[in-house]
Symmetry: C3
Subunit: 331 residues, 3 copies
Amino acid sequence: VSVPVELSLGELAVRFGLKLNGDPSLKVYRVATLANARDGCLSFFANSRYRRQLATTQATAVVLNEADAAECPAAALIDRNPYLTYARISALLHPQPVIEPGIHPSAVVAPGARVAASASVGPLCVIEDDAEIGERVLIGPGCVVQRGARVGADSRLISQVNLYHGVTIGQRCILHAGAVIGADGFGFAPDGGAWVKVPQVGSVRIGDDVEVGASTTIDRGAVEDTVVENGVILDNQIQIGHNVVLGEHTAIAACSGISGSTVLGKRVQVGGMVGISGHLHIADDVQILGCSLVSASIKKAGTYSSSMPVVEARRWRRMVAVLRRMADKER
Amino acid sequence: VSVPVELSLGELAVRFGLKLNGDPSLKVYRVATLANARDGCLSFFANSRYRRQLATTQATAVVLNEADAAECPAAALIDRNPYLTYARISALLHPQPVIEPGIHPSAVVAPGARVAASASVGPLCVIEDDAEIGERVLIGPGCVVQRGARVGADSRLISQVNLYHGVTIGQRCILHAGAVIGADGFGFAPDGGAWVKVPQVGSVRIGDDVEVGASTTIDRGAVEDTVVENGVILDNQIQIGHNVVLGEHTAIAACSGISGSTVLGKRVQVGGMVGISGHLHIADDVQILGCSLVSASIKKAGTYSSSMPVVEARRWRRMVAVLRRMADKER
Amino acid sequence: VSVPVELSLGELAVRFGLKLNGDPSLKVYRVATLANARDGCLSFFANSRYRRQLATTQATAVVLNEADAAECPAAALIDRNPYLTYARISALLHPQPVIEPGIHPSAVVAPGARVAASASVGPLCVIEDDAEIGERVLIGPGCVVQRGARVGADSRLISQVNLYHGVTIGQRCILHAGAVIGADGFGFAPDGGAWVKVPQVGSVRIGDDVEVGASTTIDRGAVEDTVVENGVILDNQIQIGHNVVLGEHTAIAACSGISGSTVLGKRVQVGGMVGISGHLHIADDVQILGCSLVSASIKKAGTYSSSMPVVEARRWRRMVAVLRRMADKER
């Protein structure tokens, strides 16, 4: 159950070191957009495309930059990084549901599993032998934690998450429904025209403060482990191949795929629907724009792209034709 | 359990207002392709590439256009839109299994959940507090309906569907296995090199007559709701970001992804593996061809593309090289 | 439970017909990379980029080519196809866990289901009426096998796999978590601006020795069946549309999608994130490079590509601009 929270602007200003233009005794109890905020709502202004909505907002308070404060018709909570401050206030106003410790009677917990007394194991979960569920962990309904997998303190598997055998998850992680961690990598040796499966004997190690989106899959290593370092954030429907390493605070948007044995540095930002080939190294602080393909290592920080935007289909057909013709001329 | 159905051509002609060339007392009991139809089968002809198969079909009856009726060796059910009429007859011949009302004893239904007496809740489902399951709804095996989620009358969650807290599903919807509705959107505020989660306090509202394919994910809104309007059809493995709005009767093919806050109009058709960036507006009746990227708003109905078809790899390498050379010359 | 295995190099040489440089009484008990191998480890050398690691490996034995044997500081197991031989030895050293026959008491097995006495049905599975589970099959935790679906001998559904009604799976297959076999194909007839569902009355037939990755979806046929022939290997998050046929030993990497009614020949290799349009024929032995689009049939074996690799974003923008300009000039 969520506990409703109400906070005064004065408390918020003190807590986050904000300058306040307005009555410190005013209270907010939830966040809202500038356009739809009503009495008791907190909003934020960080994107100039919403300037008109700022002028007419009915929010009780708005978090924004000093430079924009004069335009704010409501109380202003002023900060250099309004979106970040907004995120932190929102987390106070909308806390995670309180975890009720205990194992639901319908869960199937093997005798050799170790579940912390403060953890919650939801209905119809399966926790296999030698699995380890840390303090205050939430295992939501229908999750499967196979033998020897471990979940660190304060992590949350929301619903129907699958952890294969031996996988380890750090602390304060969030894994969304349908995430599959530790399925076999795609390793096969050709034998004439056929394929012989190469056993995937590595595992997956996920650090602390990692978020994994719905239906994202992270394969176990072929021999050594697939590694996701601290603070990595992964959107939905991402595929991470075997033996990949994702460096700290790397962020990947939905529907992207990283092929086997590729290493991403720290703070790499990968747009949606990006493909990265196998056995590459991507330097720290690289940004890849959405719908691009990376097929060679990138050694230098910077922004890279091969994303081709749509035009009218008739014009596009001419673009394809002219490119083909020019290439054929050169033969 | 499905109930077998047998219908006479006369009944069909009357019911759907079709012209019949043939014996009205002939009966059909299932659909088949022109090539594999046998006695008692109904087929259709709507694509000229199958003309040769029409000539030799052993179907008892074929639904087709007036113009093609002369070529039909079987009884002909004649209509201007044969594929649509075929779809409707097929639905009569192959009805959905009858729902057996009741809650399976292995399901875990919270005391505060409201389940209509005519609804069916399958084995090993979890229905949390304040969830609401409407009349004649089918909740198939292993589904999770979190607190406060609502499913409208006659909708079907086939198997292992996940509805997060507070999500609403309209009437007559079909959600396939592995669909995840209402996971957190990908919202994080940068804090130096790290990321701070922005609570996702909106929800998802899905209208009536919506179909959601297997493993498709629709994220909850950051502040307001993600909205899927009536009659939208979504194929498998589609990702819909937070705060997206999909207009009525929009259709999206498999593996596509729509980034956050983008609004698609009515009757938009999106091919497979299309990426659409965030914060865009796509006009009514726009068509996007498969494997394209949309990175700017589209204000005018029409067909748009950036899909680049394969050629032999050697030729393709020349195409890439010539394009790079020309761009570099211009510097 | 896995059973630990230890094998002497002499046994391995005899069993696989290998030439051995070294002491036949030495034993290995697990595989490792050249870099991290220790006493008792078996490694392999098949990619020249790891030559330096060969020189310093501490493996007990290395599987490699005759030509490289002189460089091997450890015992050498010599074969023409070292990776294949390594795969086979690894399977001996790391056998699949032994299946414990029986039905877990928490599984819900319908009275009309037929489960072989040697099969294992895990906790919280649902096996519906008329389903058939063959000899020594493993149905892992949380799987759903709908009415009339059949699983052949020695196949393994690892966890939370979904088989829709009537689907058939051959022998010795492996299906990973979240795979969905037999959901409805994306078949709708336009009716003015709206869509009418076309019943999907075909099924899915999967042959022997097929592997299906995590969250891969294979739709049931519209009228006839979707077919996956023997020895096909499918990575994670692949979408296979209705009525597709995948020929023997075809291999598809992650995140690719095959649209409805397309037929792939034998031994086709499809890279990651490839889209293939509907109603096409792809010849035997075709290779499609990653992130490409196939929108026309391919009649000749060979390698095909439309994968566009990233460059610096500024340079990429010039490439797009010059292409547009040239196409527009031609109008």
